[in-house]
């Protein structure tokens, strides 16, 4: 058995209107070269102009990740030549990243694991390359899109932890509203560094690097494959080669190139972007907007008595969670959870909308939940009304009022109704009394619901029907 040591470098494209250093649109499109400014093309004479929103979102994320924030914003140049880098350097942060240190607590198999971070820095994306059998094509649309890189310490110990961390990071980006983080659009990508060491070793083993993996399940596959491959090598007493590998469609990793000497990126401070202070005012603004995060909400829900599954479902999306919390501020928790995890979320899935596009506001839901939890209407009924309200874009509480759909809970009123129904169906009563036909109970429940316009409390009705039938049986003797 070997100890697995994984470090992840996660790249996330920030959601802004314009690019990081130019006023060209930051928008995903498949039409090539329509979102390109002079700066993004690296034309002679261009100058970068830093985007305030990108800087804010970067600082905001760093704050949420518990990093130490800088006193000023400066950028650095990372110099290298590549087909997708038109300026011949990437503007990034080396001297003073937007975040240093920090951590993200993630839940792995019920245990909290703290993933510590090296740094968080703001940079720009490269152009994208489309590969053909005999040539490649460059599309500069992606060039200059603000990119946040989150570098973890080598503290991740399994594929489970890695994937959980990635999922939680993505949820965090969505929580903070800093990125759409769609991995199928390449908006979230990661580099995996993995090495194995014996439990007794004091130094890290030889590192293998895998670059630019989009899908989280590929991260899992790549890590699992590498653990197997490197273990087998070490078992045989062979050495792991320091190299860059890529994951192929078969789930295996293949060597791309061996690491020669490390590239010297010749970093230096970007002279065209004068330093701007990170003011107390800005920090306060960001802090005031910082939401309670997923894990904290999850733990709060567990304390409220939710199951792990429900707590996880309801804390995953910030808007859903906010909505849920608005409802339970006024209404019964268990009933709300029931409505949320069934009717509300299934509707969102079905209609492919987000919760703030849903016609039913938290106040409307709260009204319905109250009626159910007080026993004024049945849960089933509540749900039916809710679906109807969604279909018709109407307030469910209005629908209930209009139809007079309050539940009949009065036992005497119910008994009277049930008696009259039994009197009209003496044959069915007879079958119960004489033949012991138990299905009579269900028949009468059905009739009661029908005659009461589905307003009869079904549980109470069932009780009363059973009692009345027994009474008639005994009377008949």
């Amino acid at each position: 058995m070997y100890k697995v040591v994984i470090g992840l470098e996660v790249h996330c494209e920030l959601e802004t209107k314009s690019k990081n250093f130019s006023s060209a649109p930051n928008q995903f499109t498949k039409i090539p070269n329509i979102n390109v400014g002079t700066v993004d093309l690296g034309l002679p004479g261009i100058l970068p102009v830093a985007n305030k929103e990108a800087v804010k979102k970067a600082l905001f994320t760093s704050m949420a990740l518990n990093c130490k924030l800088p006193d000023e914003i400066i950028f650095d140049r990372k110099n290298y030549y590549y087909a997708d880098l038109p300026k011949g350097y990437q503007i990034t942060q080396n001297t003073k990243p937007v975040g240093v240190g920090g951590y993200l607590d993630v839940l792995v198999n019920g245990e909290v694991k703290r993933i510590t971070l090296h740094d968080v820095h703001l940079e720009e994306d490269t152009a994208s390359l489309e590969h053909h059998p005999n040539y490649s094509l460059i599309d500069y649309n992606r060039s200059g899109i603000p990119l946040l890189e989150i570098v973890s310490d080598p503290c991740i110990e399994s594929a489970d932890e890695a994937v959980r961390y990635l999922e939680d990071l993505r949820d965090l980006f969505l929580y903070l509203g800093v990125s759409e983080a769609k991995s199928n659009y390449g908006q979230m990508r990661c580099d995996v560094n993995i090495s194995l060491m014996k439990e007794t070793d004091t130094e890290l083993g030889t590192k293998v690097e895998m670059k630019n993996i989009n899908a989280f399940n590929n991260v899992r596959a790549a890590i699992e494959y590498e653990i197997k491959r490197q273990s087998e090598l070490l078992d045989k007493g062979e050495k792991v080669v320091q190299e860059t590998r890529r994951i192929a469609e078969d789930g295996k990793t293949y060597s791309m190139r061996e690491k020669v000497d490390a590239v010297d990126y010749k970093y230096f401070v970007e002279p065209n972007i004068p330093s701007t202070p990170v003011t107390d005012e800005l920090l306060k603004e960001l802090k005031d907007n910082l939401p309670e995060l997923k894990l904290s909400r999850y733990q709060k829900y567990i304390d409220l008595g939710l199951s792990e599954e429900d707590a996880s479902t309801l804390s995953k999306d910030r808007k859903v969670s906010d909505y849920f919390e608005r409802v339970i501020e006024k209404s019964d928790v268990n009933t709300t959870v029931n409505f949320m995890t069934t009717s509300i979320l299934s509707t969102l899935n079905k209609l492919e909308i987000s919760i703030d596009e849903l016609f039913i506001t938290s106040d409307m839901l709260s009204g319905v939940v109250d009626l159910v939890s007080k026993g004024d209407i049945s849960l089933d009924h509540g749900k039916k009304i809710l679906y109807q309200a969604i279909d018709e874009s109407k307030d469910p509480n209005e629908l209930i009022k209009k139809a007079g759909l309050h539940q009949i809970n009065d036992e005497e009123e119910l008994l009277e109704l049930i008696k009259s129904i039994m009197d009209e169906n003496s044959e069915v009563v007879r079958q119960y009394v004489e033949d012991g036909n138990m299905s009579a109970i269900n028949f009468f429940i059905g009739q009661t619901m029908k005659k009461s316009n589905r307003q009869a409390n079904p549980n109470k009705s069932k009780e009363i029907i059973a009692k009345e039938l027994e009474r008639r049986k005994n009377d008949g003797k």
Partner: protein, 484 residues
């Protein structure tokens, strides 16, 4: 008939309708073409007269020239390098936009030292620029053609760029005014970057007032250049302010005659001291100060270190992929390699290797960062002096333009403080202007006045006063048998 006229003079004849701006353009074009073979000031001379008619600017209808490292949409812009020899930009530099909007009429794009990295005017891909006062001599650089075009009387003003002394040195050698304002006063958007932390845009003209007129039009904050500043003071309005009691200093270690033996240098210094006396008569207080010689000797290596380092990075976009001549080869690396090997001259390559070495991880501390530290020491020292003084006055060079035989771009341990102090103005972003003040060996020599950051109004005011006592205002070389 209008050759060598100032902006103010041309404004008058345009306003009185004695001449049209199209006629002025045609004259300038004719002069430009006439002198092109002998002096080689231009990369491109415009064919057609183009003007923005809706303007009430003072320079409306006035011809001018633009250094060929400013991006001009639809007009060839080469930076005098083979690697951009066919490059036609798709966007306008801010300065070009502003001049065009004001109604300035572009006559041509001027030759520079390749990629602005040189001080001789001899390294352009289209050949050597020759000094209007003596064809056997260089113009200095890198704004060589811009200085020559003004010194030949072709245009009343031209635009240059200045990273170490690239406006102010050729101005000295060509007998014209060269003004580099405060860093950030004029937008650099569209200026092909040499060393971004030192790059300035500035003006060459035949008198201080013309430089002030032009700068008032092109200055100011630009959303495309983050280092630009708002500057509300009007430079022309301050030109005639009283300068009584204004304090100037000169540096002993640079001007002390005992360290020089060249007779031209000694004459320049004699004339300089005479000028200082005249300045005192005008009402200036002029004093000698002493600065640690080690610091002054560090100016040139510091300049080389910082500028080469930044230049290596700034020119990494020149790969022949998205623009410029495409190299040959079977991989992206090979085509970049081929384009760059063929596209850069030897000098440029040497500077890039030097710059790259300076930035290497293992050298960065000792070379790049130490240079950045010396830069601060020098700037701090000058700023300290600027607490007591309004400006620094020094000869812009120790003699007239060297002959082509004497000139070399090779780095040498033999250099004179008198030739290499102008970069101080770039280190601190100080406003700095060179005006002709004497002739030595029949060649013009300039004097330089440098002042506090954002004190451009005062610097031009002082220069304007000093210009009135030099006797060399509005000079140009009257060579050529041409009647326009």
């Amino acid at each position: 008939m209008y050759r060598g006229k100032s902006i103010t003079e041309l404004r008058e004849v345009l306003d009185s309708e004695e001449v049209t701006s199209e006629e002025l353009f045609e004259d300038a074009k004719k002069l430009a073409n006439y002198f092109q073979e002998d002096y080689n000031s231009f990369v491109t001379i415009m064919d057609d007269y183009k003007i923005k008619r809706r303007s009430d600017s003072f320079i409306k209808g006035i011809p001018y020239a633009l250094k060929d490292n400013f991006s001009t949409n639809g007009i060839l812009t080469t930076s005098s390098s083979n690697i951009l020899k066919d490059y036609v930009p798709v966007y306008d530099a801010t300065i070009y936009k502003k001049l065009r909007k004001a109604g300035g009429v572009l006559v041509g794009k001027t030759v520079l030292d390749e990629l602005a990295m040189g001080g001789t005017g001899t390294t352009a891909h289209t050949g050597v620029v020759k000094n209007p006062w003596d064809m056997m001599r260089m113009t200095g650089g890198s704004s060589a053609g811009s200085a020559a075009a003004v010194a030949l009387g072709i245009v009343p003003f031209s635009i240059g760029s200045d990273t170490g002394d690239s406006i102010r040195k050729p101005a000295s050698f060509c007998g014209v005014v060269g003004y580099k304002p405060t860093y950030g006063l004029i937008s650099r958007y569209g200026l092909f970057a040499f060393a971004s932390s030192l790059d300035h845009v500035g003006v060459l003209s035949r008198n201080v007032k013309d430089s002030a007129i032009v700068t008032d039009i092109i200055k100011g904050k630009d959303i495309n250049d983050m280092v630009t500043i708002n500057y509300d003071k009007n430079l022309v309005d301050s030109l005639d302010n009283d300068i009584k009691g204004k304090k100037l200093f000169y540096i002993k270690e640079i001007c002390d005659k005992s360290q020089y033996i060249d007779k031209n240098t000694l004459k320049v210094l004699d004339d300089f001291y005479k000028l200082l006396d005249k300045c005192r008569e005008l009402g200036f207080i002029v004093e000698e100060v002493s600065i640690d010689k080690a610091l002054l000797e560090a100016v040139y290596p510091t300049y080389m270190t910082i500028s080469c380092a930044e230049a290596t990075s700034n020119n990494s976009n020149l790969t022949g992929i998205q623009f410029g001549p495409r190299g040959e080869g079977n991989s992206v690396e090979e085509i970049m390699f081929d384009a760059r090997t063929k596209g850069f001259s030897e000098l440029i390559k040497r500077r890039f290797v030097l710059g790259s070495y300076i930035l290497q991880k293992e050298n960065q501390e000792k070379l790049f960062l130490n240079a950045c530290r010396v830069r601060r020491l020098i700037v701090d020292k000058i700023n300290e002096l600027f607490k007591d003084y309004d400006g620094m006055i020094l000869p812009a060079s120790g003699g007239g333009a060297p002959t082509f035989k004497e000139s070399s771009e090779k780095l040498s341990s033999k250099y004179l403080l008198l030739e290499n102090h102008l970069a101080i103005g770039n280190f601190g972003g100080f406003p700095s202007i060179t005006i002709p003040f004497t002739f030595s060996d029949e060649m013009p020599v300039g004097v330089n006045i440098t002042g506090r950051v954002k004190d451009d109004d005062l610097v031009l005011n002082m220069a304007n006063k000093i210009e009135s006592i030099t006797g060399y205002k509005d000079i140009y070389s009257k060579v050529g048998d041409i009647d326009v």
